[in-house]
Amino acid sequence: MSAGKSNLIAGATGDWEVVIGLEVHAQISSEAKLFSGASTKFGAEPNTQVSLVDAAMPGMLPVINRECVKQAIRTGLALGAQINCYSVFDRKNYFYADLPQGYQISQFKQPIVGKGTITLDFLDGSTKEVGIERLHLEQDAGKSLHDQHPTMTYIDLNRSGVALMEIVSDPDMRSAEEAGAYLRKIRTIVRYIGSCDGNMEQGSMRADVNVSVRRPGEELGTRCEMKNINSIRFAQQAIEYEARRQIDILEDGGTIKQETRLYDSVLGETRTMRSKEEAHDYRYFPDPDLLPLEFEQSWVDELAAELPELPDDKKNRLMADLNLPSYDAGILVSEPEIATYYEVVAKGRDAKTAANWVITNLFAALNAQGKSITDSPVSPDQLGQLIDLITDDTISGRIAKDVFEVMIKTSDDPAKIVEEKGLKQITDTGAIEGMIDQIIADNPDQVTQYAGGENPKVIGWFVGQVMKASQGKANPGAVNKLLKEKLG
């Protein structure tokens, strides 16, 4: 627990605590939609991935996609949550241009997944538990385009009916940092099990952020909700702004109005929605076109057994079995692709060396190229081979960095690069001795200094000279050993 950490915000009249709850909408990675056979692929021409069901044609009826049920169960299991073998689909009734049925099929009173817990990890190695209130299945809406025509809004129903998991947290977060860690953790989990691609830019994961402030220890304050935030950074900025705004109002003797606010990422501020905020009355009732959703516990057990290793388990294993520090392990498990990459590199090699290469060198190179690990020019096998070349003294660690730079550019195998560029380490003591003798002969002053013990670090200067003479290829161990012998 990060119990020692204080998240309080100082106001003019004392400290404030910000209370944050998050609703994450995660699009399920299914081929077809939740209640229709139309494709879920992103980026198609408008209204080309729309069935008559998605367009709410008269007389059309929903039939549920088993894959979506399965992914909701798997996600629930990954959140350590209660799976309800009996759940009910309700209609949430409201009018909006991109809601063709005039209602959204969702789950209200009896969701498919109940309470759970996830653990947040922070860079300092501390953790925090956050409660999951529920996860339910629901339909996504279509898309409204407001900026294509001066007097009209355009409606594209391609997204209409795509399956969403709405994951609702308890109001357990106390800072923008914690909210960010929560969102990252949810994204990591869904990506590990493959129930959602977690792509926030394409909108396949979006967050509704509920923020309120209070004096420490007091009752919850009135909250405001910022809907459909599509980046973790924006979510954090919205929280910072909103908390400060609410504190300012309260300190000026005002009250907070419960409302939905818009986060403007360009101006970095939240504001009341321009459209008149009206009292919502969704008139939920069980969808009479569907029966309750029922399945056997044995299916849940099967899915649980087939679940891949989850990030927390993987992290614990990397720490326990491979002795990695929590910081390294945390970074390596943050994305399933990184973990997979790392585990190939580390297999049969020194775990910490492998971790350093991935976290430091590889990430820096990828960052510089704006690439993700899945399109890394250096394969995990190649990175492993590079480490092997260091381990078996074919090259030094310093030369390895040069080889790696070439690998990033050419995607060539490290052995090939070492061979072609003649970078093999000089381990032949005779050759090194020759170089040392020459340097000693040419630099009597430094020899005297070393012998006089005035500056024992002068040995470093000699090492540098030998490495220079050998173009970095001399085995540093051999150089050190021989220098000490010669300089006596």
């Binding site: 081929e31 209204n47 407001h146 009209m152 409606i155 818009l262 569907l290 309750p292």
Partner: protein, 95 residues
């Protein structure tokens, strides 16, 4: 429970049906008659009764995750009062 003009106006707005001011009173009367009549249900004790979810005694069937629909924009748009560039078009929505 009695429905007044304001309530009729509120539910008419929820239902997105324009009800002219002069009709509110008579609709309220109609609704009150019906509600008074259905109120006889309150004489039945239903404390231990499960609400019906479906008269069908079956399990919800789940279909396979196969794309077998869509790709019929013309059929989707053909009855629309107004379309533009493959979109449905509606009066501009201000957010």
């Amino acid at each position: 429970m009695s429905v007044d003009k304001e309530t009729v106006a509120r539910i008419a707005h929820l239902a997105r049906i324009n009800v002219p001011e002069e009709s509110l009173e008579s609709i309220a009367g109609d609704l009150n008659n019906i509600l008074a009549w259905v109120d006889q249900l309150s004489e039945v004790n239903t404390d231990d009764v499960e609400p019906m979810t479906s008269v069908v005694h079956a399990r919800l069937r789940q279909r396979e995750d196969v794309v077998n629909d869509g790709g019929k924009r013309d059929a989707v748009l053909k009855n629309a009062p107004e379309t533009e560039h493959g979109f449905f078009a509606v009066p501009k929505v201000l957010e």
